[in-house]
């Protein structure tokens, strides 16, 4: 399969007041086009840092990142980001927040009516038609996160980078959006990198699960292939032997091999 995103020998060091802090080291990872990859690891291990590198929001201290054969030199709308803290602009309504993105990506080719249609479609995809004209401070945390998702999806990106997009959602909405996301990915063939803490979510959605070791100087610990046929149905999977094995493997990595974070916290 074609290599679409290549991460080669990437390391990230931050300059802090206490000196250098090595967040990531020796990250080697290749994503195929249309692949869904979950990044999982304990809090603070460097998942957001890695996602920001792929987004181009930060540049690596060592190594190189490529997308579609070209070096990632900065951010761009073909690599959309759903931020961990939603990052909606508080002075724009939900509609305007999404419209800003739609206008940027499609404004050259399409008329206003079509742009508005796209915006409305993206908002209704995440089930927020009723909140379209509300300001971010007037809606719940989960709703804000959904607007953030709508904004990213509306751009029809080649690579979709999501930092715990469903973290703030209730179980029902989360399940609904996961199903929605699977359909969208199948349709658009987007390459997705999704940071998550949720083992079930990772197994349900991913083709591969990238498990990271604890920081500092975190790197990729294991990569698990999830060989479950698509389309996947969550209810049937619950009793599927392969699904249960994958789940067990991830849990084992997190809570046996990389458990020391938990011990320190306790």
């Amino acid at each position: 399969m074609e290599k679409f995103v290549q991460i080669e020998k990437v390391g990230q060091t931050f300059e802090t007041k206490k000196g250098k802090f090595v967040a990531l080291r020796d990250i080697d990872l290749t994503l195929r086009q249309g692949e869904f990859v979950a990044l999982i690891g304990h809090s603070g291990c460097g998942k957001s840092t890695l996602l920001n590198l792929i987004a181009g929001l930060t540049t690596p201290t060592t190594g190189v990142l490529l997308c579609d054969g070209r070096e990632i030199a900065g951010p761009g709308p073909e690599r959309a980001v759903v931020f961990q803290n939603h990052s909606l602009l508080p002075w724009l309504t939900c509609f305007e927040n999404v419209y800003l993105a739609v206008e940027r990506v499609f404004g050259q080719k399409e008329g206003k009516a079509k742009l508005k249609e796209r915006t409305a479609a993206a908002i209704s995809l995440v089930g927020l038609d009723h909140a379209s004209s509300k300001y971010p401070h007037e809606i719940s945390g989960g709703m804000k996160q959904r607007v953030g998702i709508a904004r990213a999806l509306s751009m029809e990106p080649k690579v979709l980078l999501m930092d715990e997009p469903f973290g703030a959602l209730d179980a029902l909405t989360r399940a609904k959006l996961q199903d929605e996301l699977m359909k969208i990915c199948e349709k658009t063939q987007a390459t997705v990198v999704m940071v998550t803490h949720d083992v079930d979510e990772a197994v349900l959605l991913s083709d591969r699960i990238v498990m990271m070791t604890n920081g500092p100087a975190a790197t990729i610990g294991e990569i698990l292939e999830v060989n479950l046929p698509r389309p996947r149905a969550r209810l049937e999977l619950a009793h599927d032997a392969a699904y249960i094995d994958c789940r067990a493997a991830v849990l084992k990595f997190l809570y046996e091999k990389q458990a020391h974070v938990e011990k320190i916290a306790a």
Partner: protein
């Protein structure tokens, strides 16, 4: 009288209420208690409304009192001290004398006996006009400059030393330069206002731009927005509160400086008026002018605070 009867009825109603609650279980309720219930219900529905309309009004008055009382007391104290201090006579006139002079002055604030003898209203308006023009020009230059300084580090590193050097200079030191360049008193005064109001606007705007949350800028970067969109959709709304602070500080300084500038340049204006009255030895008028300057300054400040509140509410 009436309160007594109500409380009596309420006291009597209590056991009746209980009996009506039990009514479904025991069907032997007789007529008289039921009537009593109806009556007390009517009483009850009447009493709360009376109480409701009473307490909020009282509370309002209370709150108003708490708000107004301290400033009024403070003002009275000031006037009291002033009165006592001037009782024994001397150069400074007492409150009564000043009040009398003010009554005469404000009877016709907009008289016009030629350019050298204008009413107090005209003088205040002339000063406000100078402040308005000088300040407006400063905003026109200072706000965009602040945006650029906040956005481009190179430019900031280039201009910041100049600002640090010039900012501490008293605006009045710029007056001779203005007189030299413009050859006229009026634009020279406006120029002084321009110089003194531009610094807070540049600095606050630049600071606001630098403090725009990284999250918003990341959104702009991921979307790869044009510089124009970044300014209008992200920077401007995020910086607006800082900008308004800069504007408020500028107006305050401008109003401080205009009085001094006009004393030096002459012509029409509240500052010049003060100087004129000093030459005429009308000390009452100087004291009146001090009050006017204070009140106008206060109004300007309050108007801008109000504007800031309104704008930031709309944008957040």
């Amino acid at each position: 009288m009436s309160t007594l009867t109500i409380s009596g009825d309420l006291a009597g109603a209590l056991p009746v209420d209980r009996s009506t609650q039990n009514a479904p279980s025991g069907d032997c309720t007789s007529n008289p208690p039921a009537q009593a219930v109806k009556e007390t219900m009517m009483e009850k529905s009447a009493t709360p409304s009376a109480v409701e309309s009473g307490t909020p009004l009282a509370e309002h008055l209370n709150a108003l009192g708490r708000l107004v009382m301290p400033p009024v007391l403070g003002l009275l104290l000031l006037i009291g001290i002033w009165y006592v201090a001037t009782l024994s006579g001397g150069a400074i006139p007492g409150p009564v004398k000043v009040w009398d002079a003010a009554s005469v002055l404000f009877a016709d604030p907009f008289y016009n006996n030629g350019p050298n003898d204008l009413g107090i209203g005209w003088n205040v308006l002339a000063s406000l006009e100078r402040v308005g023009i000088g300040f407006g020009l400063a905003a026109l230059v200072g706000i965009p400059l602040g945006f650029m300084l906040g956005r481009f580090t190179f430019l900031a590193n280039m201009i910041n030393p100049i600002i640090s050097l010039l900012r501490p200079v008293s605006p009045l030191a710029w007056l001779p330069i203005g007189l030299l360049v413009f050859q006229k008193a009026d634009p020279a005064a406006t120029w002084t206002i321009f110089i003194c109001s531009i610094w807070p606007m540049i600095m606050n705007t630049a600071q606001g731009v630098q403090r725009v949350p990284q999250d918003y800028l990341n959104v702009a970067r991921v979307l790869d927005l044009s510089e124009w969109k970044v300014v209008t959709k992200i920077l401007f709304p995020a910086v607006l509160p800082y900008m308004l602070t800069g504007i408020r500080l500028s107006i305050g300084t401008a109003w401080l400086v205009i009085v001094a500038a006009e004393m030096l340049t002459g012509g029409v204006g509240i500052g010049f008026w003060v100087w004129d009255e000093w030459n005429n030895l009308k000390v009452e008028h100087i004291i009146i002018a001090i009050f006017i300057i204070g009140i106008v300054g206060l109004l300007l400040e309050q108007a801008l605070i109000l504007l800031a509140k309104k704008l930031t509410k709309e944008s957040s």
